[in-house]
């Protein structure tokens, strides 16, 4: 019966607020002012049995545009780090919180096409300056030597396209090189145009995931070995397949589950696996928001760009430590009593001074990710805490339970206290929650966020709010707690969190939001993850080995 709670989390798409404004209730015009409804406690949906899960049907296969980070790593892999430093990729357009989903669903804009072209020539020139000898393995007999150009092309095209090049493609790109070399009477100019062209080809810019018929199942398609190699490699290292993986793809080494597991485990030993994890969690935890976070300078004079960068780094280091450097139970991310600080953060937290990044015990009252300055600063206003943002983050990002929209035409303002009365933020929010139209949703967010009222909007400890002692008691559904440490423990032991994590990591690997019909394989992944003692690397390997990762259906 241990799997029941996980199943519940998989199937609970939305937090149950009150009925007045969920779903499409107000599809009429003029906008409906929500009718006050008697607030009702959130009642759990009856837990479905695993056998009630729908039969497994994989997701449609679609071409996926490289994300900006994947574009840069692909150029680095193909042409060297100098070329990758010369480019400024078009910005990602995340959808459903992930750049990979934007890349799998959106169209490339005209301005991005222009950026790709500009970047292609910059990368080509930088590569030829830094690595000509590697790129040109032959001595051209003439300035437009077609044989030598053909050798340059065949080495580059297959790697750039992440699959064997066709003869047509080789001829096409060789002649681009030869023509340019002839026009300039310079062999290297030809190589420049050849490289610049490959970097603009859809075969480079998209992970083509078309698949081939699945002999075992007429309803499904399987990714080809080359497609699977790319999916695996970008998932686990955010970079294109290395030589060993390409060899495996060519030799049938990815045709069975054992082969995939072996390659996945090997890839996870590479340093790029840590980068891939960082890229994913920067998005999942919205850490990229720290790059442009402002705080009120009167209230928080010590908050600046540099400390925001340190906050991001603290969280990244903790995650990588638990997943790779000292692999442990990944649930401890939520409850660990150690963290990483640099000098500025040590001062910020009131810890003994350090001179370099150091693992330290956290001060009393803190435990895990949600008591780090990154989360606490991000999920706040510039001048004040936001228990609502903090609670919403826990619901949406950690429990996979989206919160419905606030009702239209309702003032979201917090009522003013009577003159000369003090009120903590919590007391103001509680007044707010008394309004029936607000209560339904705020009731599932704010009592979670109250756990963190002992920290201010930059994550420093605070005992008072508006001169009054803070109250950090709250509840998550029916479970009550006092303070962030208790809440952290409660969340650590909540199986919904790891189930939600598994879904989000799966989304990153496959470029789509998991479908209802993928719940069965995802449940198996979650169970195997739990059985391993929640080792993050096991989660990655289990996802990679899952049928849902390797198969698909034809897109409409």
């Amino acid at each position: 019966m241990s799997r029941l709670p996980r199943t519940l989390a998989l199937l609970l798409p939305l937090v149950a607020c009150e009925g007045a404004f969920t779903g499409g209730a107000s599809l009429e015009n003029p906008p409906v002012v929500p009718t006050p409804v008697t607030p009702q406690p959130t009642t759990p949906t009856p837990m479905p049995m695993p056998m009630e899960l729908p039969a497994f049907v994989p997701a449609p296969l679609r071409p996926r545009l490289l994300t900006s980070a994947q574009y840069v790593s692909s150029i680095s892999d193909l042409l060297g780090v100098e070329a990758s430093r010369a480019v400024t990729p078009p910005r990602d357009v995340p959808v459903n919180g992930l750049a990979v989903i934007g890349g799998a669903t959106l169209e490339v804009s005209a301005s991005a096409v222009t950026d790709y072209e500009t970047n292609a020539y910059l990368a080509a020139k930088a590569a030829l300056t830094a690595r000509r000898a590697t790129l040109v393995p032959c001595t051209p007999a003439t300035t437009s030597d077609a044989t030598c150009m053909g050798r340059v092309a065949s080495a580059l095209v297959t790697k750039a396209f992440r699959r064997p090049a066709t003869q047509v493609e080789l001829t096409r790109w060789t002649s681009i090189g030869v023509n340019a070399a002839r026009a300039y009477d310079q062999f290297d100019k030809g190589v420049e145009f050849l490289i610049a062209g490959l970097l603009q080809s859809p075969a480079f810019l998209y992970l083509s995931e078309v698949g081939e018929p699945d002999v075992a199942n007429a309803q499904r398609r399987r990714l080809t070995a080359w497609e699977l190699a790319s999916r695996l490699s970008f998932f686990l290292t955010n970079a294109p397949p290395d030589d060993t993986l390409r060899m495996a793809a060519a030799n049938g080494g990815l045709d069975d589950e054992a082969g995939i597991r072996g390659q996945a485990q090997r890839l996870l030993q590479k340093p790029e696996a840590k980068t891939a994890m960082t890229v994913l969690f920067d998005e999942l935890l919205e850490l990229n928001g720290l790059d442009a976070l402002s705080k009120d300078r009167v209230r928080f004079p010590s908050f600046d760009v540099a400390i925001a960068r340190s906050m991001k780094e603290e969280t990244r280091r903790g995650l990588v430590d638990l997943a790779f450097d000292h692999p442990g139970d990944f649930r401890d991310v939520l409850s660990r009593r150690t963290t990483f600080v640099d000098g500025a953060l040590a001062q910020h937290y009131g810890l003994p001074a350090v001179t370099t990044w150091t693992q330290v015990s956290v001060p009393a009252g803190r435990a895990g990710l949600l008591t780090q300055a990154s989360f606490l600063s991000l999920m706040s206003h510039p001048s004040a805490n936001s228990p609502t943002y903090r609670g919403r983050f826990v619901r949406e990002k950690l429990l996979c339970q989206p919160i419905p929209a606030p009702p239209p035409n309702v003032s979201t303002t917090l009522p003013d206290p009577p003159p000369n009365t003090r009120r903590t933020l919590r007391q103001k929010l509680e007044l707010h929650m008394a309004a029936p139209s607000c209560r339904g949703c705020h009731e599932v967010m704010d009592p979670i966020g109250f756990a963190f009222e002992g920290f201010d909007a930059t994550g420093k400890a605070q005992q008072l709010d508006d001169g009054l002692p803070v109250d950090t008691s709250g509840h998550l559904d029916e479970q009550t707690f006092t303070g962030a440490e208790q809440f952290a423990q409660l969340l650590r032991d909540d199986p919904r969190v790891m189930s939600c994590l598994a879904r989000q990591v799966f989304r990153q690997g496959t470029g789509h939001v998991d479908l209802d019909t993928e719940a069965r394989p995802l449940l198996a992944v979650t169970d195997a993850f739990a059985a391993s003692g929640h080792r993050y690397q096991t989660l990655l390997v289990e996802i990679a080995a899952s049928e849902a990762f390797r198969s698909g259906v034809e897109a409409p």
Binding site: P13, L14, G24, S26, L27, N29, P30, P60, P63, P90, V93, P94, V95, L106, E107, V108, S109, S111, A112, V113, T114, E117, T166, V168, R172, I176, A183, Y184, F193, G197, Q200, S201, P202, A203, S208, A292, L293, S294, K295, D296, R297, H381, P382, S383, K397, C400, Q401, P402, I403, P406, P408, N409, V410, T412, T413, L414, V513, E554, A555, P556
Partner: protein, 454 residues
């Protein structure tokens, strides 16, 4: 020397390598267009996030004698040499008719496209949405862009626009539901994009022809992939290839021609980089406005979207510091006690809007007109008021004269809550198109505002 060359006529031969004819031959005695073509009409959608305070926004007077309200006061500012009141029509009393399923998303999609947005919230992913159809600037671009180098421009000032809720809040311009168009936030880069083509090239350099042939090969590569895709992804790849074709045309086009109204401005060094966590909003807005005005005068483009501040954006306006507590504009809109700051933010926004208009106004377009005379500028937001996410009595300004087609300096108020999409259709008509409708579903409009069309 005062002359003006019809670049439009020249550029129609884009791709062909033709010699420049004698300039004098193309001018008539008065320095007007030799071919008698009037200056083209331009369209700008100018957007700011989080609404206004209507009681301080809407002028009391109706008609030509309206006096700018507190929030519209920056339209006349003698100290800054700004006077654009006579170019601005206020449109009030209009309501968004598409269902208000999500604050900000609904208003942004309705005012920029006339269609309901499409929610994207499957299976426990956070709330996201996309546009329901092409945005109005792109509808206009398809009709009026002609053979300009850039079919349209997408500009943004604040970088703190919301990217976590999907394309509806992140982007103003959309070619379709799956085709948001990214904004340029960096004035120095914008300058390079717009004006690098003015640098004369050595005609013996084969570079551009080779770049074009590379793009042909790119298209050929796409053919094999396309044949394996379903209809939806074929369309995605086609959109990509359309961008490739546009780039190819631009590469082979003749360099733009310097004339009395079109000149290459000084290259800005401003890159829109924060200083101490503060964005250089006013400096960037000013430069973007100047560059846009010259892009129009040089006929590099005829359509632009200008995202001053984002929907639910995290922008903080510097004028609230250092003595006052500073919060993001979005969060203060939700506080009843902070409405004076919201007001200050709207006034600041209008100050910047007035500058954009003034930049267009002072840019000569022909001997008898400036760029603003020939432009239609739609200025609006993603909610009517941020405090309550309301979408009725929406704040909208229509500026410019549309080459005489748009009534300016007028306050038109609907007394029966007309559809905001009527305003979009009015823009389309003022741009000289015969568009029969804009938007769809509850947002559909077939009725332009006749009082504002001349």
């Amino acid at each position: 020397m005062t002359f003006r060359l019809s670049r439009r006529r020249l550029l129609r031969g884009a791709g062909a390598l033709i010699a420049l004819p004698t300039l004098d031959a193309m001018l008539d005695g008065n320095g007007a267009f030799a071919d008698g073509m009037p200056p083209p009409r331009r369209f700008v959608t100018w957007f700011f996030g989080n609404g206004v305070i209507r009681s301080r926004w809407t002028p009391t007077q109706i008609g030509t004698t309206y006096v700018p309200s507190q929030q519209l006061a920056p339209l006349v500012d003698a100290a800054r040499n700004i006077d654009v009141r006579s170019y601005v029509s206020v449109v009030s009393g209009f309501n968004v008719k598409t269902p208000n399923l999500r604050g900000h998303h609904n208003g942004a999609a309705a005012l920029l496209s006339g269609a309901p947005f499409i929610p994207l919230a499957p299976n426990g992913a956070g709330y996201n949405s996309k546009f329901g159809m092409m945005s109005i600037d792109q509808v206009a671009a398809d009709q009026i862009a002609g053979t300009t180098r850039f079919k349209s421009l997408q500009l943004a000032v604040s970088k703190r626009y919301t990217t976590g809720e999907g394309p509806t809040l992140a982007n103003m311009s959309h070619r379709g539901p799956d085709s948001p168009m990214p904004q340029e936030v960096n004035p120095a880069r914008l300058f390079n994009t717009l004006f690098s083509g003015f640098t004369p090239r050595d005609p013996r350099d084969p570079r551009d022809q080779l770049r074009a042939s590379v793009l042909d090969a790119v298209k050929d590569d796409a053919t094999a992939l396309k044949s394996q895709l379903g209809a939806r992804d074929k369309a995605r790849l086609d959109a990509h290839l359309t961008g490739v074709s546009e780039l190819r045309t631009r590469i082979l086009a003749l360099p733009p021609v310097i004339t009395s109204s079109c000149s290459v401005p000084t290259a800005p060094t401003q890159t829109n980089t924060d200083s101490g966590g503060i964005e250089p909003i006013e400096q960037v807005s000013t430069l973007m406005s100047d560059l846009l005005a010259m892009a129009f005068a040089c006929d590099l483009t005829r359509v632009a979207s200008f995202q001053f501040s984002g929907s639910v954006g995290g922008h903080c306006f510097k004028f609230l510091t250092p003595t006052e507590a500073r919060d993001t504009e979005h969060s203060i809109t939700h506080e009843a006690t902070q409405q004076d700051k919201v007001h200050a933010a709207v006034v600041f926004t209008m100050k910047n809007f007035a500058y954009t208009l003034q930049a267009l106004k002072r840019t000569v377009d022909s001997p008898t007109s400036n760029v603003l005379d020939n432009a239609v500028v739609l200025c609006t937001s993603d909610v009517a008021e941020g405090l309550d996410h309301s979408i009725n009595d929406y704040p909208v300004l229509l500026a410019g004269k549309g080459s005489g087609a748009l009534r300016s300096g007028y306050h038109f108020r609907s007394t029966n809550g007309r559809n905001t999409s009527d305003i979009l259709l009015t823009c389309m008509r003022a741009l000289g198109t015969n568009a029969a409708s804009v938007g769809k579903d509850q947002g559909l409009s077939t009725t332009p505002i006749s009082e504002l069309l001349v």
